[in-house]
């Protein structure tokens, strides 16, 4: 009689222990890096937007496909007029917000009107400034009128900040955090844990997860340790660096994927500087880089994608395939022609503000020395770097996130761009970009973008040795589609998948 009783008590005790664990089994615990020190905003167009949360809450009209191409999200289809200066988008039926309200054209117009409002501090406006007016036509479709022809408006609308919020978002604080995305906000605590529950009426189907916890862990190493200790279920959007990946790669409790992204690091030699204004010097400075060695040492073999001073990433449909091995002889010859036969001495400013800046610069210093170039590396404190060195000194390191071709070329390299950090001014390049925007024919547009990229590689003022990979580490039971983070379908993520 005693044995069954003990067994029953044991079973009850086990059940007590097991039940709480099961209750949380379907909640994905995700770290975020508390980018704005607790000032994270649920407004997707705010300068302090809570990126990780907003990705789950809100949707866009158009989103990235698995290869970076524009595919439908809240807009089911779209078309342009022959001049490509007016675009019509058809809204998807049956979409509702988290508060039960049906999505309407008014919400879309409201969202874009506030995004384009010049009185508002919305960084996304620069990327979408080509939009002159948004309205609804008689058929209930959304009509974008542009200030100039733009054949890639759907790509611009993939901007991660171009989210659709309900009418009245600004006036009614209860609407902050109400979107049409796969997860509903439950509790907002950016420095602690922000919690979400699955939105059962999500238009693409109910999420496989019960909910998500976004846990604020600012320190890179602390996030890695939290993953090792089982306090979080995956490495989060930022992933882990190539060296940290070693901690997990042979551990059967985890699996990982390494996804190519359009994020890049580089070194700018401003074209308005007395030395760097000579295109031969700029080209020589880029030819001395051994990009393969940089990738091998900074990320491990194959841990990043070599690029030839071209900011367009491999996943972009307009990417021009190029080769750029280190070429010391040509570099020496160019320098000699430019009057630096006895060598060149330059100052490069960098910082520990980014994990890759300093080692990249030190490696470059070593490589450039082989061609007689002396690189004096100036280490700037992290807190001051963006204000005192970036775009202020003749040569400095830089970092950019993934952008589609049109955006990255126009925002960073077009002559009049606000963020033209390299002071690169080339009318031929500008003309190619303008022409590409106005060309609706896919093949012809691709050719124009290829010419622009080739020209930039030949004459540009920025060394871009690689695009980063995103190394995402997950616990064995977590399954996240192996696509870059903008293309993840969060309703498909689950915590019981076999990897």
């Amino acid at each position: 009689m005693k044995k069954p009783l003990i067994a029953a008590i044991g079973l009850a005790a086990f059940a007590q222990l097991a039940v709480p664990q099961l209750a949380h089994a379907e909640t994905l615990r995700t770290p975020h890096w508390v980018e704005f020190s607790g000032k994270e905003s649920l407004d997707p167009i705010s300068p302090t937007r809570f990126y990780s949360a907003n990705q789950l809450i809100y949707s866009r009209l158009v989103r990235q496909g698995s290869k970076g191409e524009p595919v439908s999200d809240l807009a089911s289809e779209w078309q342009a007029n022959p001049a490509a200066d007016e675009w019509t988008f058809t809204l998807r039926d049956g979409v509702s917000f988290h508060n039960g309200k049906a999505l309407s054209a008014d919400d879309v117009i409201y969202s874009f009107t506030r995004l384009l409002d010049p009185e508002r501090d919305a960084p996304a406006r620069a990327a979408l400034s080509v939009i002159e007016d948004v309205s609804v036509n008689e058929a209930g479709q959304i009509v974008f009128r542009l200030s100039q022809s733009h054949a890639d408006l759907p790509i611009l609308l993939m901007d991660y900040r171009a989210k659709i919020v309900p009418v009245g978002f600004d006036d009614d604080t209860s609407l902050q955090g109400i979107g049409t995305g796969p997860f509903k906000l439950v509790e907002f605590d950016p420095q602690g844990t922000t919690t979400f529950e699955a939105f059962a009426d999500y238009w693409e189907g109910a999420p496989k997860l019960d909910g998500m916890d976004l846990i604020g862990i600012p320190d890179d190493n602390a996030r890695t340790q939290a993953l090792l200790a089982g306090q979080i279920d995956w490495s989060g959007w930022n992933g882990v660096n190539a060296q940290q990946l070693r901690l997990f790669s042979s551990n059967p409790a985890y699996h990982y994927d390494s996804i190519a992204t359009g994020d890049w690091r580089g070194m700018v030699f401003r074209a308005d500087d007395e030395v760097f204004q000579d295109v031969r010097v700029r080209r020589a400075l880029r030819l001395v880089a051994d990009r393969e060695e940089m990738v091998n040492l900074l990320f491990g073999k194959g841990g990043a994608t070599i690029t030839c001073d071209n900011p367009v990433w491999n996943g972009d449909q307009y990417k021009l395939a190029q080769q750029c091995p280190q070429d010391l002889d040509t570099a020496r010859s160019l320098l000699s022609d430019a009057g630096y036969a006895d060598g060149l001495e330059i100052d490069v400013y960098t910082s520990g503000v980014d994990n890759y800046f300093r080692p990249m610069t030190e490696l470059y210093q070593r490589q450039a020395a082989e061609a007689g170039i002396t690189v004096n590396v100036h280490n700037v404190p992290a807190a001051d770097y963006w204000n005192t060195a970036w775009m202020k000194k003749p040569a400095f390191t830089t970092a950019w996130g993934q952008r589609p071709t049109d955006q990255v070329l126009n925002e960073i390299f077009q002559s009049e761009a606000n963020w033209n950090e390299s002071a690169y001014k080339n009318p031929e390049f500008d003309a190619l970009l303008a022409k590409a925007r106005a060309t609706l024919d896919d093949e012809a547009r691709t050719e124009l973008y290829h010419q622009a990229q080739a020209l930039l590689t030949e004459t540009g003022a920025t060394l871009i040795p690689f695009h980063l990979n995103n190394n995402r580490v997950m616990k064995r039971e977590v399954h996240i589609p192996a696509v870059e983070h903008f293309a993840i379908r969060w309703h498909q993520v689950d915590k019981q998948g076999e990897s």
Partner: protein, 299 residues
């Protein structure tokens, strides 16, 4: 009457304090703790001068296939992220820190001692006002102050030496005023004043020999603080520029790999710690041997 023939309530202290430098060294050497400190400091000074030549590998050369290799027969302390030999960089990594912190400590002690002795002699309202100013300066967080000055002036060896020297001299002023007060009330000082000795003579011949022990201990203490400050600044990105190896910078660069490649970060930590501990061992031994108890208890 001069210092060598004077006596104080602490008895033999003055006789010892007035001995030439080699006797002070002899006293340190006679103490096990002091001996250890001296050996370690000597070793570090030797490495600061000759570390680059003693290093088994080129301190800047790296191997693209040797990133973060663990310790081996070829690389005794392993390699860093850029494939450079950690032992070689550690051996040479104290040079900038020592070359900067030691002159800064000397500067701090020279001006702080002079100022402190002068204020103690002048006394009265001037001393009171000056000491309140010293208190105010000492209440400023040291790192914040250093970052502010270096942020405005820009990093550079001279700026580091001047900033660290001037800042740490403030604390020396306070210590020296207190030390001199004990001396000033003694009979032989009164006698020297009545004799009509000039201020400089009074300072140099009568007071200085009797506070030399305090000065030596302050020198050691300020050196260890300046060393720590320089390494902290280097860690934060204000220090030396690559590829010059520096312990603070090595720690900053290697800390991201601490979990799986501790060999990239532990050697510079051990090197820096050993030097700071050595300086403190010497300071403690000096204080005990020469009769100073920094906790304030008479010996």
């Amino acid at each position: 009457m001069n210092a060598s023939s004077s006596t104080t309530a602490r008895g033999p202290r003055l006789a010892l304090a007035s001995l030439p430098g080699q006797h002070t060294l002899a006293l340190l050497w006679a103490n096990r703790q002091g001996r250890l400190g001296l050996v370690l400091i000597g070793l570090h000074l030797l490495l600061a001068v000759a570390g680059r030549w003693l290093a088994p590998h080129d301190i800047s050369a790296g191997d693209s296939l040797a990133s973060l290799l663990p310790p081996s027969a070829e690389h005794w302390l392993g390699t860093d992220q850029l494939g450079r030999d950690v032992l070689s960089r550690t051996l040479a990594g104290g040079r900038e820190a020592i070359y900067t912190s030691l002159p800064a400590a000397v500067l701090a002690v020279v001006w702080g001692s002079a100022c402190g002795m002068l204020l103690a002699i002048i006394g009265g309202r001037v001393e009171n006002i000056a000491m309140r100013l010293v208190d105010a300066l000492l209440s400023i967080p040291w790192l914040l102050f250093l970052l502010l000055v270096i942020g405005v002036m820009g990093p550079g060896p001279l700026v580091f030496i001047l900033t660290l020297g001037i800042f740490y001299g403030v604390a020396v002023v306070r210590v020296m005023v207190t030390a001199c007060r004990e001396v000033l009330c003694l009979d032989y000082i009164q006698a020297a004043r009545l004799r009509g000795d000039s201020l400089m003579r009074l300072l140099w011949r009568e007071i200085k020999p009797n506070v030399l022990d305090t000065i030596l201990v302050e020198l050691a203490m300020r050196w260890s603080w300046a060393l720590l400050a320089f390494s902290s600044l280097s860690f934060l990105g204000f220090g030396v520029s690559p590829p010059t190896p520096d312990w603070g910078l090595m720690v900053a660069d290697g800390r991201g790999f601490m979990s799986f490649a501790p060999w990239a970060v532990l050697p510079p930590i051990v090197a820096l710690s050993s030097l700071i501990i050595a300086i403190n061992l010497v300071a403690d031994t000096l204080a005990k041997t020469l009769g100073i108890d920094r906790a304030g208890r008479p010996e």
